[in-house]
Symmetry: C2
Subunit: 401 residues, 2 copies
Amino acid sequence: MEIPLFELNLQADLDNDRPETMGAVCAVVYLLTIIVFIPWAFYTELVAATPGSSAYDALTEVPRVDGGRIIQRFPHNKLASYLSAILSLQSVAILGISDDLFDIRWRHKVLIPAFAAIPMLIVYYVDFGVTHIMIPVPFRPYFGELVDLGFFYYLYMAVFAIFTPNSINILAGINGIEVSQSIVIAVLVMINDVLYLSPFTKSPHPAQESHLFSLYLLVPFVGVSLALWWHNWYPSKVFVGDTYCYFAGMVFVVIGILSHFSKTLILLLLPQFFNFAYSCPQIFGVVPCPRHRLPKFNARTGLLEPSKAKFEQPLAKPIQEVMKLLHKMKLLGITIDEKGQVTESTNFTIINLWLVWWGPMREDRLAASLLAFQAACGIIGLIVRHNLAPLLYTVDNLFAA
Amino acid sequence: MEIPLFELNLQADLDNDRPETMGAVCAVVYLLTIIVFIPWAFYTELVAATPGSSAYDALTEVPRVDGGRIIQRFPHNKLASYLSAILSLQSVAILGISDDLFDIRWRHKVLIPAFAAIPMLIVYYVDFGVTHIMIPVPFRPYFGELVDLGFFYYLYMAVFAIFTPNSINILAGINGIEVSQSIVIAVLVMINDVLYLSPFTKSPHPAQESHLFSLYLLVPFVGVSLALWWHNWYPSKVFVGDTYCYFAGMVFVVIGILSHFSKTLILLLLPQFFNFAYSCPQIFGVVPCPRHRLPKFNARTGLLEPSKAKFEQPLAKPIQEVMKLLHKMKLLGITIDEKGQVTESTNFTIINLWLVWWGPMREDRLAASLLAFQAACGIIGLIVRHNLAPLLYTVDNLFAA
């Protein structure tokens, strides 16, 4: 198909103005904030390094083997965690910016978070090295209470690191959706974190430090995201770009892995999971995938409608049957011609599916209702997590303390 | 002065093509390399964490107080150093890229390296905390052998961190000069590092690990710089941008501070120091400073000539006298009108001064001869450092081992 010249020019103009890089500005401000925050995160320990302070006196009873060098008591492993977290986030920011600037190919950029996760996984290896998982009670007769996954646990973390940023990046395309889904997830994680902090538990909780670490990273993240949201919500003045999506995803990966609650986080990412699973037929080419899958704007009504993929050649019979089945289950909109052939279907994204379910709607209502769905899923997830865990693992780590 | 329209367009085109960002590509490749290198840098220790290996057996005799957790023996402080080095380099790369993209104001971007240095200075504080300096023998009667600079030592490091990247950034403007001066300095530091490694010293040198750390960071740096040099040498196809200059400077800052040889490094940066000191009158506005100070291309001869600053209003009498004095000392080219007023002078950069000394020359010859000068200064600096140190400090740390 030939593209008219004026469209090409428009595209070139868009490329030159680069409104996309606003996510990069957001990431840079965030990174500067958490770098400047380092001394505060380690305030007690830094003060403890000064003889004469009360914190120092409290520490002097710790037995030492190295002849009493004061600086040895500094929690280097905690600092290494914090630094590796910043490092992973910076790496993903740099790679995201490169992507926004140079348009890296899809099959390369999927792996961006894997590179960025290296520093974090190495610190995980040397600091925690915990690769066993607790088996839910019903399966314990077969596997025992703990199973050491060894290498596979690192594979799990790598897959988690690749999946999360990309899943946020594909649940995108309408004003404000990328930023606001990240804010919703971050706020839910923060609520979960606060539950572990002192006033809500009887004694200091063993996981308190992990959840404090998670808050250190999330509070400024919500801050910069709100600023971006202000400009990116419908009608948006700036775009967030791949940088923001990867960056936000990586924030979740970092806290999930280094604060040890990746499974809880997966509960909060269920809509993203569903969107990814639902997208698979198009991502892996079972069903033809157009260049863009965002909903179609109907200029007459001012509403968004589900966008459709047209099939020039008829699809294989079994695929058509599956699509008809999905249509009956209200999981897909399809058009059938007089010969009974599926000639087009709505694109396989949760955004289009939402429009199939609830009919055409305005862009901001679409985004807001998807967010309400995200928040509802997350809240139910958290409630289930803290109530179901005692059944599956005999005890929930929150109420155990 | 009105700028003709076609010049404005040319500028806009240059901005859009952004050949400047090649330094960013270079920095990103470098960062990925040293991130992927992390496990190799800690190979012995990572292997030691596996019970049964010979390295593990060698370590088991280390007394432990924490109930025998293996991972505690991992050198977290070394890892924190390495991570903080990468972090500082990444920060400077991100800020450099922002600068190339958004054109940050001069008075803000001077401080870029200071932000980037924060992670490194914090690791310095908790890991080494060494803030005393050795006093040269002639001054010992007055100050004692060691003086603890305390806070001022951090100030010194911050100034060093701000100064080095900026000094490379202002010794710039002709094809290839930024990259090749960095390569020359890096190679000289590497030669100095190699002197401390085993085959050259009788027993393992106490500073061996520091110099190994420096080599870890410098070998890939020289690698990416040579690739950039290939395209940036006269006649250049790409530009390096502020990103590269800040980045290269920060590499030197990081190894200088974390490997404890910032004073040796200053010896290798003498031409940059001189250039900065020489530039001060224009930087601080004592003498009017034009927008660009690069040498002027003479299209007729094909040679570069010193560029000049014209003084619309006559300068203050004392300044004119100093300029005439500098002219007599062959440190400045000036033009004097019939009234004895200085109406113009060459710009205050070492590149222009070089052209004043040796006359107009082709761009590549100019760059090559400046580099030869840089290399000569550095080699003399290193020889002096290892021969003069025994006189000033009673012993040189290289030959002491």
